[in-house]
């Protein structure tokens, strides 16, 4: 099945030769850009299959990736790799911006249009780069013609699901960042994962653990037939430490800590990570023997990272303007089921009146890692309000318009829209004590003995929750069991006492719950995570694979602590595996 979720336009454009936007700077020896420019010029003038339409828009993206990865466990290196690649993708549009070959879900199993790209050589061989561009353009053009014909045929007797244009018109833009960030040595990554993972040799109650580190840079070259061009560098570095054990009753307990930055130096604080690992180890050890929660309904306070994680898992997918493609009727019905309900809620209240959300790609430093100067459609990045005084104002879009958002918000990242830095702000001036007092007041009103505070959630994981096998194949929005379980949560009593909960499942938390947030803190936490493109129609197991390959875009969220009046938590459903028969070999008495 093919899904075209490509960008945008309104003005009738025809292919025009490139104006010399900042051409001199670029030409300063950028062989890739030169090859793109020359082949674009040739295609613009000559590419035409006799008797058929010529492209009205052409865009080239080259992603040049240089990445180091290492993983370790229990003090030893598991793997390390160094990857370099240059991937070309070609976007060809035929028809016109109001109706073109995109936004169409084909039923054919292996649509040829998915192949419209390829790998470029690692060295600056102009002839070979042009050869690859030539072949990819040819394929993309033929595939575009076929898609458009198929789409026209299907829609001959149908009304379009979304009667809006297929492509938005945007300002021409140019941006050239020639920076060449330094990468650490492979040996440095290897030593780091060995050292960090050795911490688990002192943690006898952790059954397995894994440390992975990566550092790299991705440089994107972009050129389109409207004259927009850019070169952008996106350096990233991360260390993720994961640990797993089982409670004394067998319940699987996971936790992780992560450090993320723009460069390896940003995450060089080994002491900080070691102390976070030690704290995680202590928490997991304590969770092993803690009393399990049976069922709870009542006030819940999400603090710090947990607030950001809940927001990312439940609300963020709703803020993306993913469009439902046109398709053959039976298929279209299926696609409509995963339609984002927020597409119909612009102008409606989705949060309490004291909350706002805006997306700000210019935020940088202070933990913000999601920013960029220009998006993957070549649209200049800018800040935009998504929710004002609780009212939904806009969704994040690429040049592929959705009802109510007809221009790009400069949020194309990869194949579809993704946030940059999402900032949740409020008019609240409650300090932590006041928020806590409010929390306890709710507990008292509700008549429960205690409230629950969540400080860390886990990632939704296969094997967690009841339908793990099937949920792998489920696509579309996540609710209920697709949510992560809590990894750090406490029962909080009015006298201030806290009681650790080993693990709890959040019951049916949807976007609607966010409307009923009672109060928030005046301070915010900034938290970053790789965003996987699951918001649209990509099955979640594929999204997981994307993320594993490091293809996800880093998104940052700044958010206050969130107090909910009523949420339900329960003991995780599903079977509980037995404890290991033998003890860990290093801790066998």
């Amino acid at each position: 099945m093919r899904l075209s979720a490509l960008p945008v336009v309104f003005v009738t454009l025809s292919l025009v030769p490139l104006p010399a936007v900042n051409a001199q700077k670029e030409a300063e020896l950028n062989v890739i850009m030169q090859a793109l420019r020359d082949e674009l010029a040739r295609s613009t003038e000559q590419l035409e299959l006799e008797g058929l339409e010529r492209p009205y828009f052409l865009a080239y993206t080259v992603r040049e990736t240089e990445q180091l990865n290492a993983a370790g466990s229990f003090g030893a290196l598991l793997s390390s790799a160094e990857d370099k690649s240059r991937r070309l993708s070609v976007e060809v549009r035929v028809g016109d911006p109001s109706f073109d070959n995109t936004n169409f879900g084909s039923m054919s199993l292996f649509p040829s249009s998915l192949a419209s790209g390829g790998f470029l050589p690692l060295e600056n061989d102009y002839r070979e780069i042009r050869r690859q561009i030539w072949l990819a353009t040819d394929q993309a053009y033929k595939a575009a013609l076929e898609s458009l014909a198929e789409k026209r045929a299907v829609l001959q007797n149908e009304t379009r699901a979304e009667d809006i244009a297929d492509f938005s018109s945007e300002e021409q833009f140019a941006y050239f960042d020639q920076a060449d960030p330094d990468l650490p040595s492979r040996a440095a990554l290897e030593q780091r994962v060995r050292d960090l993972s050795a911490a688990f040799r002192d943690l006898p109650e952790i059954f397995s653990s894994n440390v992975s580190a990566s550092a790299g840079n991705r440089r994107t070259y972009y050129l389109n037939s409207e004259g927009t061009a850019f070169i952008r560098s996106d350096p990233t570095a991360s260390i993720v430490v994961e640990a797993r054990t089982q409670a004394t009753d067998g319940t699987v307990l996971n936790d992780s800590v992560a450090a993320r930055g723009r460069s390896w130096d940003d995450i060089s604080d080994q002491d900080d990570l070691e102390s976070r690992i030690a704290a995680m180890g202590a928490n997991l050890t304590a969770r092993r023997s803690a009393e399990g929660l049976d069922r709870y309904s009542g006030p819940v306070l999400f603090e710090g990272q947990a607030a950001a994680e809940l927001f990312a898992q439940v609300l963020v997918p709703r803020l993306l303007g993913n469009r439902v493609p046109d398709a053959e009727p039976n298929f279209a019905r299926m696609l409509q089921q995963s339609r984002n309900p927020f597409l119909d809620r612009i102008g409606a209240r989705v949060l309490p009146r004291f909350l706002n959300i805006h997306d700000d790609p210019s935020a940088d430093g202070d933990g913000f890692l999601g920013g960029y100067p220009v998006d993957d459609d070549g649209v200049e990045a800018r800040s935009k309000a998504l929710v004002e005084n609780g009212i939904l104002k806009s969704l994040l879009t690429s040049r592929n318009p959705v009802p109510g958002v007809e221009k790009s918000t400069a949020n194309r990242r990869g194949d579809g829209p993704a946030p940059s830095n999402l900032i949740v702000s409020s008019r609240s001036d409650m300090n932590d004590e006041e928020l806590h007092a409010e929390f306890m007041l709710l507990v008292e009103e509700r008549g429960t003995d205690y409230g629950i505070v969540v400080r860390r959630m886990g990632r939704p994981e296969a094997g967690d929750g009841p339908a793990s096998g099937l949920s792998l194949l489920r696509s579309g929005p996540r609710t209920g069991p697709g949510l992560g379980n809590t990894s750090l949560a406490y029962n909080v009593f009015p006298d201030g006492r806290e009681e650790l909960i080993p693990k709890a499942e959040l019951v049916a938390v949807t976007e609607a719950a966010f409307r009923d947030i009672v109060a928030v803190s005046s301070t915010s936490t900034v938290y970053s995570f790789p965003h996987t493109p699951a918001g649209g129609f990509i099955p979640s197991f594929l999204a997981g694979a994307f993320s594993a390959l490091g293809l996800g875009e880093v998104v940052s969220v700044s958010i206050p602590d969130l107090l909910f009046e009523e949420l339900s938590l329960r003991k995780p459903s599903g079977n509980v595996p037995h404890l290991p028969v033998a003890n860990h070999p290093s801790f066998d008495p």
Binding site: V31, K84, S112, R131, K142, P580
Partner: protein
Amino acid sequence: MSEVQWNREGGRALSRLRLRHLLISLCGIALAAGPVAGQSGVLDAMKAELDRSMELLGEEEMPPYFLSYEISESRSASASASFGALAGSDERHERLLDIDLRVGDYSLDNTRPIRDTFGSLSFLRTGRTRMPVDDDAAAIRSILWSETDKQYKRALEQLTQVKTNVQVKVEAEDQSDDFSRETPSKGVDEPRPIEYDRAEWEDRVRRYSAPFAEHGEFLRASASLTAGTDTRWFVNSEGSEIQTSETRYRLSVSALTKADDGMELPLYKSYSSFTLDGLPDDETVQRDVRKMIEILLALREAPLVEPYTGPAILSGEASGVFFHEILGHRLEGHRLKEADDSQTFRDQLNQRVLPESFSVHFDPTIRTYGPSDLVGSYRYDNQGVAARRVTAIDKGILKNFLMSRSPIDGFPNSNGHGRKQPGRKPVARQSNLIVEVSDPLTSEELTERFVEAIEAAERPFGLRIEEIQGGFTFTGRMMPNSFNVTPLLVYRVYPDGREELVRGVDLIGTPLTTFSRVVAADDTIGVFNGFCGAESGLVPVSAAAPSILVSQIEVQKKEQSQDRPPILPAPVGDI
């Protein structure tokens, strides 16, 4: 490479076996100047954890009766170039774990296939388990422990299912045990290092792929060089302790052009050796590259072949692949146990299947044949059973099957052919297939017989099949029991000796009929080295065979790409 295809009608898995001539870069691997000596530390750690597991699990109500650990290490280095420009260059190093843990007993255990199920999602549970690449006993044992525990619990679940399945289904046709009893093996090889000069290799692949850039007709052209060392450590609860190490070098060149009617025309050339020196020198490769260019340009102009039935000569390399697909896969023992396999040769035992002068052996113990290294060689199979020569066909009579430790009626033991790629379950697979003919003709005599056959069949011409891309065969019952071999280079041969290059041919047929038409062979031996993909993954295999004359083969038109050649001509010129 996917050996399991999902059939759209029933969602049922079919065995699809495929021999790939293409260089397939196996998983990830890499070299580097790591520590070489003292690696038996890995074996010690494995042995210690295996003993501890057997002891502790032995106290359980349903203890395992067998446990083995295999750690496969890959170190590799490779460089590839496309049209003279470097496309990739990397070094990899990884170790993967495989555990075979069995509960029940040798006659009936948790591994018995569940009959009559319509597929299952269990493939989602098979994953690759990475092991430390450092020789760190505590880290190695920590992963062995947690994986053993997982496997043990899974085995208990499986055994319950197996026992129910055995009770509710009709009695199986084959009453043999689930696991054979074998003598433990012990043997330790020194790990072998790889010779690799990154800059030089990058330069070589650039040079080998550059000549294609002189012609606008080629859509793809690449050269790659790969070196890899596979080191394996194996221990089992029967007392086997093995450490082996093998190095392989492979150079391959491939190119693709399109005829004006859209037909894609690929051509490959590859060289395999255990040593770097065993690869051909620069001059030879350059000559072969020029030859490839000539052939491909000629193929673009060559006439299309019409469906044809008649006599053919298969070159040594081509006949090796032909035997591998048509015979070899049907001699893999475990298939004779599978309820949905067509079991072509099950009842042919001790019957004549080939002319009396033909014998076929599978011999993993020989490392070379003539001047060629055989990549299907090994000392122990993936179940720790010592490799041995198996004569499958002796003077035309079917005598033996290829056996893993999964017995079949009348064949209670392994003959050292239980093979797999890391992460898969071993099954019987081929090694080095050797076709021997007791009274070979000379090439001239074979050609004379060919001409006689063409005339006898009253055909205007015969076909000479020179090079083969690969092939696949279906052995299941859900699909016609057939094979398909894809030649790259086919000539029409006229009785007057004239030859004409043609394109667009697939060689097809059913195994027994085709076999009965093998008439004669000559004394020129061709060796084919490649990777074979089937249910236990990709394994390196070889085939050595003479040119053969087949009195009647059938060819069909090749599946053809419907895409036109590129609209614009190839770009020319520099910046």
